[in-house]
Subunit: 341 residues, 2 copies
DNA sequence: CTGAAAGCGCTTACAG
DNA sequence: CTGAAAGCGCTTACAG
């Protein structure tokens, strides 16, 4: 026959009812060995593949996981998407991808579109936080990396990870540090900043005082470059000796600004990032950063989604410090102007 | 009611039959204005959204486009994926994404999985070419960027674009050039190489002779870095004065090798890429490269897929030369050893 | 343990 | 132009 074989064809070929075929397919219900074998033989003889659409209509459930990211061309989100796809595949699910372009409206309409398709669950890396839609839905939703609405969040422990970097810089002797923060309307931006600032404050109180400057930008290259350029355009004695950025992209932008201004990294200036995108290991000098465990994050997000009932509690996963060439000891001691926050 | 409203609910609310509701929904068939309005009122009153799964089962057609890329963390593929998603969205379709990890088996099983889901069409950026499965399928398949099986290909005119770069380098006075090619088992790798080599040969015959060296690698950073390091480890007079790479990633790797070896780009060495990923404009120095028109490629691929009947002919779209800081005039004339291919 | 049958929510010939 | 009805390919109570 030229059309695709159906359960009915399999049933006829095996001499059983379609119900039995379905039960064999599901693997759940008990079917006598002999019938089971007949059915399996028929399945391979006919090259039968279940029609997932029919199954979905009947059960209102699919094996598709919807993923919404702000921008797939952002290397960290691309990595996250790759990890989510792998994690989904491992558990027999496929991935439907949508980009919100940092637009709340697009985000919401993608959620609705996924719901229309009876996806098994939705993972969203939110564009920015805020009221967040309070859709109560039969379909589980998990926030990944950046909180979406009120849904449970799987993320790196941004504060803990950022504190690691603060310690690193303090230990290297830096006492005038600039922190390039991410957008304050993102939880990740806020947590990283608080983790970093909090730890520097603590270091400053227990040890030598630290002058800390704060600037806010987006998570992108341009923000990092622009802010670093401002910071570094001052006379050398007024410049920070270290710039810690809230993302690798910002840090790479900062690296470029330093390069343009002929400021030697790491001898005159340390620059650090956050994420450990693959590029971090390829820029010159290689970037000291915080590694976000993308695979683990993705796997946990998928696991929470698929649990019965779906996970409800946030999960924080520790990040780790990766020391490379862009951070080093402060060149020479300088007078410290005092502690500013 | 708490369950989702169906056509039946809409029909009752509007006092018509479900067939009429369906006809209004499809917009195709002629329905008298009065009934149409009643139906539309009922739709908004109930907040009705069509069940796409039921529709798919009935018509064995969905509005999902399947996209398979070798690796979503490759910046060029990420850009392509973003463009495909946008193009799909513009035409009312969603995107299902899968990564093949450059594995033919995975690629094939993703195709099958998409087919199982009755996708509207499949776009594949092939892992590498070869026999290619000859599935005849009701579902249209289009190759994007790299040919998949025997399916129509939408791609940059790799040869034309690479020739642009050959001209650029020749005009800058380079007479000893190394070309880092992509994998010869990819059409893109071969076409770019042939376009470049062919044009250099032509320049060499019509003008001054050019010594051209060829090396093959993958399209990734590591290949570029490794090959460039080999090339540049020779005594200065034996080194090429320009390295043209088959991808931006390779070129960025080459940039790093040059930096490590303290070879000034572009004063002592020109380095060029291919793709114009966003990173190309952020490395130091900014990369001279070929821009692949990702948006246009994506839009054409989606258009071919959605045509009735689906497009059957390959489409080549011209790339363009983007001159930035990594290429410059050859520093000083040197003896030319002759022309080698 | 197995079969017969209902039904998921649509679309679309078929009549009228 | 509109309605009644069949049917897409499954799954799952319901009987037995």
């Amino acid at each position: 026959m030229s059309r695709m074989p159906t359960v009915k064809d399999v049933a006829e070929h095996a001499g059983v009812s379609v119900g039995t075929v379905s039960r064999v397919l599901s693997g759940e219900a008990a079917v006598k060995t002999m019938l089971r074998e007949k059915v399996n033989d028929a399945i391979s003889a006919l090259g039968y593949r279940p029609n997932v659409t029919a199954r979905a209509l009947r059960t209102s459930r699919t094996d598709v996981i919807g993923l919404i990211v702000p921008d797939i061309t952002n290397p960290f989100f691309a990595q996250l998407a790759a990890s989510v796809e792998r994690a989904a595949l491992e558990r027999g699910h496929s991935l439907m991808l949508a980009s919100s372009h940092d637009d709340r409206g697009a985000e919401q309409s993608h959620v609705l579109a996924f719901l229309d398709r009876s996806v098994r669950g939705i993972i969203v890396v939110a564009s920015s936080d805020g009221p967040g839609l309070h859709l109560e839905t039969a379909v589980p939703v998990i926030s990944l990396d950046r909180r979406f609405g009120a849904f449970p969040l799987v993320s790196t422990n941004h504060a803990q990870a950022a504190a690691l970097m603060a310690d690193h810089l303090y230990e290297l002797g830096h006492r005038h540090i600039a922190y390039i923060a991410g957008p304050p309307d993102t939880e990740a931006g806020r947590m990283r900043k608080e983790g970093f600032v909090g730890r520097i404050d603590r270091c400053g109180k227990k040890g030598e005082p630290v002058e800390l400057e704060l600037a806010y930008g987006k998570f992108d290259y341009e923000s990092g470059e622009r802010i670093a350029r401002d910071l570094l355009s001052r006379p050398p004695q007024d410049r920070p000796t270290a710039i810690a950025a809230a993302s690798d992209q910002q840090a790479i932008g900062a690296l470029r600004a330093a390069r343009d201004l002929k400021i030697d990294v790491p001898r005159k200036l340390s620059v650090t990032g956050f994420d450990d995108i693959s590029l971090a290991n390829l820029v010159v000098p290689r970037l000291t950063t915080i590694r976000q465990p993308a695979d683990t994050l993705a796997r946990r997000a998928v696991a929470l989604l698929l649990e019965e009932p779906p996970g409800k509690a946030d999960e924080m996963i520790d990040g780790s410090l990766i020391v490379r060439g862009s951070s080093g000891p402060r060149a020479q001691p300088k007078a410290v102007a005092g502690h500013k926050n």
